[in-house]
Subunit: 337 residues, 2 copies
């Protein structure tokens, strides 16, 4: 029996060899852009692109594609649109694929440009469960134009099991090859992640891949990613220093160290550390008590973000407001099976 | 089958019922004191005591006991000594037990005062593996004076398996009733924690309890606590907002929400949130890239803490320095079993 070369007191065979095959998707600019309305300047986006390519990241999600007119002029920066001329200013051919996200309701099939006219390789559609069928139509249209496509069904923690069954049946019957388990509110513990990945993999076809997009409200995002890799997910979303809405995402540097694979190098990401820690000091993503509370209560973090922006730090009052009308937990031992 | 009342799409029977029996040990003043050299004022310590008692915390570790003369006069605050007159100013009889930690080499059996002269119920000895036998002597002496005692063998991640066997054999043959798995460097992933808890429980007698003290360098402390509870540990250390050396500890508020038990109430802890977030803004515990690097490399965080204090944010340079002379990881699939 070999030993873990880091933690020598533990056998090395206990860690999953799925670390060697999982793909890494960086969403720093796309999800991190929620913190600054996508006003990243081009040198920064270029340096992120170069760092991710050097780090061996498989897929960079560089922003959203959004229909014209959705946002007032000047309200959002260029990476909410991902216009081709902006993309061409910051990327170059590399081994790393490029993705853009589209939000259902803010993008129509007729807004798609053919893949041959774009450096974008992958379109990811973010949808709620109720719009899964329409999302599949959009994804099929994107596929016909030449894109690889992913379906991210958001806020699955708010669905009941039958609603999950329904959208997984729709996705099973689709040509969509990639589906993500999305913990939009940071509500999940590792056992939730394991259960849902097994459920997604059981419902979907064996040629459909499963990924995870996890939020860090309860400081579980990275450990949930580890659980997901154990369960055999095909790709994991992460962002540099965890930059993202509210409590943020899986920190890319932690994920790359964990994967510990010659094809993934944390160093280029660490080189961007000073830039991102400075951004974090002004934009303030990361662990905060209101995000812990909304995560635990399985609620959107918006109310917490708004309170912190207003300088309202009465956390116990926030707890009282949010728990006042909620059903009390059932305080008994869980029933078997 | 019932459903999780928070994350409705997941069956509730997947979570361990060990949540209902695990004990919570708060180390805010003891471990958090590393951030401010134990200069907490008495009203703060009193408010922490009252909040923890109201939250249903089982055990409050209120500081260190240290032999006179170990520190220069005025170098450390009162909670590095836990003199009886200071303790009596901040605590009152309650259902919560009080603990103090002693460091091997900074406290001798002759420094012990009898339990009947102290409000302290529990002495926890922090030792390195090599001093386990001497630690047991000190713990036996404390036991004879009337204390409940715990042995925390620090930095177990730096031991080889035979060294772990050796100190566990010593503890097995002792009268010490409580032993903690201690991840001093925040080096562990959940699979390490699970393995070590199984190992400790297999080596120790069935009447000896096992706990965990976890650090958050890689944002795994809370998820490691969840894994530990799954594995049936008897107590878990945590601190308010995770206050502690470097990246800090398991945040108590997250643990209490997870336990979700009428005997544990997160609200009194959240009431202290504003005080501790203000402390965090000046003392700056929590996730930082140098702590992630030392955690991953299984090194003491001191080098990272020193660099941050000096305002040195060259994370890639730190990575280069620390990785230069280390053995390269073995980049192959783990061998079976």
């Amino acid at each position: 029996m070999g030993l873990d070369y880091r933690v020598r007191c533990v056998p090395d065979g206990l860690i999953t060899d799925r670390r060697r095959t999982v793909q890494v998707l960086d969403c720093t600019i796309r999800d991190g852009g929620i913190c600054n309305d996508w006003f990243f300047d081009k040198p920064l986006v270029r340096s992120v692109f170069e760092a991710l390519a050097a780090a061996g990241v498989d897929l960079m999600e560089i922003g959203y594609q959004t229909a014209a007119g959705v946002h007032p002029n000047g309200a959002v920066g260029p990476w909410k649109y991902c216009r081709e001329e902006d993309l061409l200013d910051v990327v170059r051919p590399s081994g790393m694929k490029l993705a853009a996200m589209v939000d259902m309701g803010r993008f129509r099939p007729e807004d798609l440009r053919p893949k041959r006219d774009s450096v974008i390789d992958v379109l990811r559609v973010a949808t709620y469960a109720r719009d899964a069928a329409a999302a599949v139509d959009l994804l099929h249209a994107a596929q016909e134009l030449g894109y690889d496509v992913h379906c991210n069904v958001m806020a699955v923690t708010t669905c009941n099991p039958q609603e999950v069954d329904q959208f997984l049946a729709i996705l099973h019957d689709s040509r969509v090859p990639n589906v993500a388990v999305v913990d939009s509110f940071g509500a999940m513990y590792p056992h939730h992640v394991r259960y849902l990945i097994r459920k997604y993999k059981n419902w979907l076809r064996s040629d459909q891949k499963v990924g995870v997009h996890l939020h860090n409200n309860q400081q579980t995002a990275f450990a949930n990613a580890i659980a997901a890799i154990d369960e055999g997910v095909d790709f994991v979303d992460a962002s540099i220093t965890g930059m993202g809405r509210g409590a943020g995402n899986v920190p890319l540097e932690l994920l790359l160290m964990y994967l510990d694979d010659p094809k993934h190098d944390p160093r280029p990401v660490l080189e961007l550390g000073p830039t991102f820690i400075e951004l974090r000091n002004s934009l303030k993503w990361g662990y905060q008590l209101p995000y812990a509370i909304t995560g635990w209560l399985n609620l959107h973090p918006k109310a917490g973000i708004d309170r912190l922006k207003l300088g309202n730090f009465e956390y116990a009052g926030f707890w009282d407001t949010l728990t006042a009308n909620r059903p009390r937990p059932r305080h008994h031992r869980p029933e078997p099976g």
